[in-house]
């Protein structure tokens, strides 16, 4: 084994080379994302089955959601994925830490916007209108048992997703601090890259949640 001269900060003793450490980190994050696929997958499986068993109610239920907020949030989240990718690219190309922090903060702002829209214009409205099963549910009218089941899924799934967003914002905060402390360089930016994977994954979950909850079955009159 070659003697290891000066290693960049963040090099751990159990590795032989920086390259090995970087690959291990990436593989570890991808493996973690696979567990996340199956974690959300349990919900998706249940959703698919129940939707085919209670199709009518689930279409009715999806009409309780407001498409424009869902669509706006999709756009916000996609934009945040772009800024996250650009943050990593900025680090890769050895740009100043100010630029990295700019993109990270922009990502955080977009993430926070997503949660704000979700809270203020969707969940709060659902709360007022008695659409949250177990918390504020008003029976009657379009609020049938089948719609209640749909709303259970809606809140479990968007709630879990929002939880992941909050965790993501926490990770981004740590990254901003690490960047400010000059921990990253063009040679060592693995934490940024790995966190980016997580952020994009959360985006992908929403890319599926949006059509599954808001759109499929159609929104045209009489659907």
């Amino acid at each position: 084994m070659a003697a290891h001269g000066a290693h960049p900060p963040g090099f751990a003793h159990q590795f032989e080379t920086v390259e090995q450490q970087r690959e291990a980190g990436t593989l570890g994050m991808w493996t973690f994302l696979v567990t996340e696929i199956l974690f959300f997958g349990g919900m998706f499986t249940s959703y698919i089955i129940y939707r085919s068993l209670h199709l009518h109610s689930f279409i009715q239920g999806s009409h309780e959601l407001i498409v424009r907020y869902g669509a706006t949030n999709t756009a916000v989240l996609i934009f945040s994925s772009l800024t996250m990718a650009l943050a990593i690219r900025t680090a890769q190309t050895g740009k100043s830490k100010g630029q990295i922090i700019f993109w990270l903060l922009l990502t955080m702002i977009l993430g926070a916007t997503f949660i704000a829209i979700k809270l203020r214009f969707e969940w709060y409205r659902d709360y007022v209108e008695g659409l949250i099963p177990g918390v504020s549910w008003l029976d009657g009218g379009t609020h049938t048992p089948g719609v209640k089941m749909f709303m259970c899924f809606y809140f479990f799934m968007t709630g879990l997703h929002a939880l992941h967003m909050v965790v993501g914002l926490g990770i981004l905060t740590v990254l901003v601090i690490m960047t400010a402390r000059n921990r990253f360089s063009a040679e060592y930016y693995a934490p940024l890259e790995i966190s980016g994977l997580y952020w994009h994954f959360v985006d992908i979950v929403w890319i599926f949640l949006f059509p599954l909850l808001y759109l499929i079955g159609g929104r045209y009159p009489g659907s």
Partner: protein, 554 residues
């Protein structure tokens, strides 16, 4: 073996500093990132859990001596079997070999200084302890009576016990499994020493890799399932409740999607251990290396597509029943391949019978019975009669206790000199192995008969005609209990008073035997370069072989 430094092990061994005495004090253990120390932390914690679960089992068996129940009200009995199941499955068997021997051995066997993510490794121990503490708290503060399977709507709407806390404990412990599995996968992919190709890996590593796959792919599903169950209990809204159009069988699907593979989380590492033991004590290359290796992977994959055989009588679709039945039979094939290859490894070996080997042979025998009785349950028609009876109880104890626990004990005995640097008294160890084998069979064989006679499981009281077999089973359990206490005593004794073991007391092959016992903190002074296959034991030419007919002629 296999390294430039091979056979140097006589020299540096007893020089002094090792992972055990490198630092002292409780902090040096609780804040350690050393995979070997973390393995020991797991060893200590799961031993405690094993004792808790074991006490519950003993109380149950005493209770069942009388048809009307000797000790408890049904309510208490229900809590006992639930505690026994939950503790043993989620807090002993699942982490047993992976978290102790796996943590200790994987870096040593592949020639690495540590696992890929040591901090994550320590974190997963703390997560495990948190989950275990929740489960113990729930047990002490009133218990839980749902059985380890948590079937709704009983668990979600009817049980008035601590279901939520226990479910939370299992949920939390699940993340420990996920992180351990993730760590092992990355370690095995990225940390192997130069020259340690996939097909030079010890079979224990293959088994651990397969196990880690199940950890990573299965555990998230039980996590989300228990999460939904918890929400249903707390908010009284949910998706498994038939009263609002939900389907309680969906819970069973999601539950068994994890919990059937979890059975292989328990047995696969055991198979890995047995592959090591059989080769080491017959000083022979494993018969059919690649078949044994790939059978581990195929068991891991197949384990995910058979779960519906737990649901043949639950009102599952008849078509799903047929699909799951045919898939379930598939598991038999790689399992059979393993058993035959272990047996064939003995052929023309140089076999000795130290305690670990006795455990390994016991494993092969009991796993054979456990596996074959699985055929009764994969067969749709017989499963209808046997499902939910003591036949099931006997079958999975043959696999999990006769299989996984025998292998676990065998592994602990085999690597104990490496872990502690000391030898235990071999005679006592052999006696204990024999007692465990006999006690085990006496406990669980009558349960096969009980099951066929139709005695349902989870019965606090039972018709009198089943008493004789129940008394036999309880008698066996007391023998088994004694068998489990003996190793506990002499292993602890040996840590202080046992003779010094030396680097390789068994003259076994494998990188872990090339370094001192106990190993130094950094494992290898220089990362070894591997140049040969696993289990490359020296071979005699035919003429020097004492039994061979050629010799007689010469």
């Amino acid at each position: 073996m296999s390294t430039a430094t091979a056979d140097l092990h006589e020299a540096p061994a007893e020089s002094g500093v090792n992972y055990l005495n490198a630092s002292y004090g409780i902090r040096s253990w609780l804040l350690t990132f050393d995979h070997k120390r973390i393995g020991l932390l797991y060893l200590a914690s799961i031993t405690v859990m094993f004792l808790v679960g074991g006490v519950a089992a003993v109380l149950m068996r005493i209770h069942l001596i009388e048809p009307q129940g000797a000790l408890f009200e049904p309510e208490t009995y229900n809590k006992l079997f639930s505690t026994h199941g939950i503790i043993m499955v989620f807090f002993f068997l699942v982490p047993s070999i992976p978290a102790t021997l796996g943590n200790f051995l994987i870096p040593l066997m592949i020639g690495a200084r540590d696992v890929a993510f040591p901090k994550l490794n320590l974190m997963s121990w703390y997560i495990f302890i948190t989950g275990a503490a929740l489960a113990l708290y729930a047990t002490i503060s009133g218990g839980v009576d749902t059985g380890w399977t948590f079937y709704p709507p009983y668990s979600s709407h009817y049980s008035a016990t601590n279901v939520t806390i226990v479910a939370l404990g299992v949920f939390v412990a699940g993340f420990s499994s996920i992180l351990t599995g993730l760590n092992f996968i990355v370690t095995i992919h990225k940390m192997r020493a130069p020259g340690m190709t996939w097909f030079r890996l010890p079979l224990f590593i293959w088994a651990m890799y397969a196990t880690s796959l199940i950890f990573v792919l299965g555990t998230p599903v039980i996590a989300i399932t228990l999460f939904l169950l918890g929400l249903e209990r707390i908010l009284h809204v949910g998706i498994f409740d038939p009263a609002v159009g939900g389907d309680p069988l969906l819970f069973q699907h999601l539950f068994w999607f994890y919990s059937h593979p979890a059975v292989y989380i328990m047995i696969l590492p055991g198979m890995g251990v047995v592959s090591e033991l059989v080769t080491a004590f017959s000083r022979k290359k494993i018969f059919g290396y690649s078949f044994v290796a790939f059978s581990s992977l195929s068991i891991a994959v197949i384990s995910f597509i058979v779960w519906g055989h737990h649901m043949f009588v639950t009102g599952q679709s008849i078509y799903a029943g047929l699909v799951f039945s045919v898939l379930s039979f598939l598991v038999a094939i790689p399992s059979a391949v393993k058993v035959f290859n272990w047996t064939a490894t003995l052929y023309r070996g140089s076999i000795s019978y130290e305690a670990p080997m006795l455990y390994a042979l016991g494993f092969i025998g009991l796993f054979t019975i456990g596996g074959l009785t699985g055929l009764f349950l994969a067969s749709l028609a017989t499963d209808v009669h046997l499902n939910g009876t003591y036949f099931i109880v006997a079958h999975f104890h043959y696999v999990m206790v006769g299989g996984a626990v025998m292998a676990y004990l065998g592994g602990i005995h085999f690597w104990w000199p490496k872990i502690s640097g000391r030898m235990y008294p071999d005679l006592w160890a052999r006696i204990a192995a024999a007692i465990i084998f006999l006690g085990f069979n006496l406990t669980f064989f009558p349960q096969f008969m009980l099951g066929y006679l139709g005695m349902p499981r989870r019965y606090a009281v039972y018709p009198a005609e089943f008493q004789v077999l129940n008394v036999l089973s309880s008698a066996g359990a007391s023998i088994l209990g004694i068998g489990y206490v003996i190793p506990l005593v002499y292993l602890i004794w040996s840590m202080r008073y046992g003779p010094v073991a030396g680097p390789n007391p068994w003259k076994a092959k494998g990188l872990e035997w090339t370094i001192p016992s106990p190993p130094p903190t950094e494992n290898f002074e220089e990362i070894p370069i591997v140049t040969e296959d696993a289990y490359n034991y020296p071979v005699a030419d035919a003429h020097s072989y004492p039994d061979a007919p050629e010799v007689a002629r010469v």
